[in-house]
Symmetry: C2
Subunit: 112 residues, 2 copies
């Protein structure tokens, strides 16, 4: 078993998956800021996202109108950029969910 290979593979599996995870976390309307999303994802999925991965990802989602963002000043500390999912984001996530479920069912079949 080649741990080096597995690590590279895991990094590849994250491509696309992270988008899917972030939209799923945002889909119920609760807003999150970037740093918070990283720990929320770590808590729920045992996936560690580097900051250098998350921030560009959020920018791409915003550029595609799947999320919005707004700066919120804090009483103390660094301002946070909060993200909200858009209607288009919800609709897109729905398509993703369909694809993901089909993919996973096929893999379940061939992997047993």
């Amino acid at each position: 078993m080649n741990q080096e290979f597995i690590n590279k593979w895991i990094s590849q599996v994250k491509k696309g998956t992270l988008t899917f995870i972030v939209l799923n976390i945002l889909k119920n309307g609760k807003e999150y800021y970037g740093y918070d999303l990283i720990s929320e994802i770590k808590k729920n999925t045992a996936i560690e996202i580097a900051e250098g991965t998350l921030y560009p990802l959020m920018n791409r989602l915003k550029a595609e109108n799947l999320i919005t963002s707004k700066w919120v000043e804090q009483d103390s500390g660094i301002p946070r950029k909060y993200y909200n999912i858009t209607n288009e984001g919800v609709a897109t996530l729905k398509s993703m969910n369909t694809y993901w479920n089909e993919l996973n069912n096929s893999i379940l079949k061939i992997s047993k």
Copy 2:
């Protein structure tokens, strides 16, 4: 819903996933040749793999000693390159399966 975005996303989701699918198809010891794998995958998963994706993928798997290959002349037609999974391939696939299942369970939780 942004079909352009969805298509790009699906292409990203395939990264890593294709490796996982190919190893899963080979894992029972039955050997396949490249062109055959493409149609087998299409049949089982509704995923279309371009030839320009599959052949480099198989070369990577071979370079990592996860599969072997051998040329087999045909009575008629073009020779085929048949692939077999190695013991290392089986062991690696086992780790992948563990990761895949955990990932998928977490996503199921956050996506409901």
